[in-house]
């Protein structure tokens, strides 16, 4: 029987949650025996090549590309998991959410100190993803099946969740595993 397939993505995140996934220490050898990775920055596979059992999403949605990636994960993954505070509530990037987008862009590109004060423009190339009015948690864009809080979620929490999901048993979320920081 083929192994369960996992895919991961980092949207508007810092890759800290992926680091925490790697922080499972020697259990990583067990993970490789247990699952196969598909689209993920860990193996650098760029596109889905087969149906995925568990998709792990780090980061919220701050631009159109994030939304597109998240929707493709929803389409290709049987179970989709929000990993970390940014995926669950926007996290640090969401600190801009109370500020109008124009004000944000003007502060970042027009009004802040620059090495080249003469050349100030707000980037507007057609190849750039369009920035959203707010940073959205993943579950406000697509249906999310499980949530792993933490900044980052501890390696133990990620290990517990991933092994439980691929083995088809309920998640044992004990008190020490649920932390928002």
């Amino acid at each position: 029987m083929s192994k369960p397939v996992i895919a991961t993505a980092s949207l508007a995140g810092c890759f800290g949650c992926h680091m925490s996934l790697l922080d499972i220490d020697e259990r990583i050898l067990g993970l490789i025996d247990l699952v196969e990775f598909n689209k993920s920055p860990i193996d650098d596979i760029k596109t889905f090549t087969k149906p995925v059992d568990v998709g792990l999403i780090e980061g919220g949605c701050c631009n159109s590309e994030n939304v597109e990636v998240l929707r493709s994960f929803r389409k290709n993954c049987k179970v989709l998991v929000s990993v970390g505070e940014c995926a669950i509530m926007g996290g640090l990037p969401a600190m801009r959410n109370g500020i109008p987008i124009r004000e944000c862009l003007e502060e970042a590109y027009l009004n802040s100190p620059s090495v080249d004060p003469e050349d100030r423009t707000i980037p507007n190339d057609e190849d750039l993803p369009i920035i959203l009015d707010k940073v959205y948690p993943c579950h406000e864009v697509v249906k999310i099946d499980h949530f792993l809080p933490g900044c980052p979620p501890s390696a133990d929490l990620i290990w517990e969740a991933v092994t439980a999901l691929v083995e088809g048993r309920p998640l044992q979320l004990t008190y020490d595993l649920i932390k928002f920081d």
């Binding site: 669950i88 509530m89 996290g91 969401a94 600190m95 109370g98 900044c151 008190y175 920081d181």
Partner: protein
């Protein structure tokens, strides 16, 4: 006067006349979650986290005095889910960025979310625009985290009895402001008490943040209410 006999979820309990349900429950080793209530302050029953059911009616356990023979429902699944939804509403109503908050690990709102396993709120985030006031020499006020429990308004007074904090405006526009003149002369003890009385990270003593490492903070290892359930609560 005689003790008052009452029941919580079928458990026979004894309380003192005039005691509120929350106080009497605590004395009997039963935890009823509270947020706007703080021992020693006059209860106002504003947050409704302590909602219990007596005779089919919902009531705030922090304001309701005991009545002989009352049968209190505290852990019915629908009650617990209602409390959980209240916690979720408080999270989406403000801007609660736990990873960057100094109160994280010692925050009562966060601790309740841990206890009730709030993994993601069922309501959409509102992202209100709120102000930060760092003008007081010892204190910083962060409106993003304020849940309008009014604990600071009730507890913090200057030597002459004047209130240091006050609620300004009404309804969803309500915000807590500090009296700048009084705040300029707060003692170290008063500033510390103001920070400790705040259940969240809306009032912070400046220059002392992140003093306790992760793992040794108040709610890192045990859920809020464990002390009451073990009978070791204050």
């Amino acid at each position: 006067m005689n003790d008052v006999r009452f029941m919580i979820d079928g458990k026979e309990c004894l309380g003192k006349p005039g005691q509120t349900i929350v106080e009497a429950a605590k004395a009997n080793g039963v935890y009823i979650p509270v947020l706007c209530h703080f021992e020693g302050l006059k209860p106002v029953g504003s947050c409704r986290i302590c909602t219990v059911r007596v005779g089919g009616r919902f009531m705030a356990a922090c304001t309701q005095p005991l009545i002989e023979g009352m049968a209190v429902e505290n852990t019915a699944p629908d009650l617990e889910d209602m409390r959980k939804s209240l916690i979720e509403m408080l999270f989406v109503e403000g801007n609660h960025l736990c990873p960057s908050c100094e109160k994280s690990g010692n925050c009562e709102l966060q601790a309740l979310a841990y206890r009730y396993q709030v993994l993601a709120p069922r309501f959409p985030y509102l992202w209100p625009r709120r102000d930060i006031d760092a003008s007081a020499p010892l204190l910083m006020l962060d409106g993003n985290r304020c849940i309008q429990c009014l604990r600071c308004v009730r507890a913090c007074r200057a030597k002459d009895g004047r209130k240091v904090f006050a609620a300004v405006d009404r309804s969803r526009r309500v915000k807590i402001e500090v009296d700048k003149k009084l705040a300029a002369h707060l003692s170290e003890d008063q500033a510390r008490r103001a920070m400790d009385i705040c259940p969240v990270g809306a009032i912070l003593r400046k220059e002392t943040g992140f003093a306790v490492p992760i793992g040794r903070r108040k709610y890192d290892a045990v859920p809020i209410g464990s002390d009451v359930e073990k009978g070791t609560g204050r």
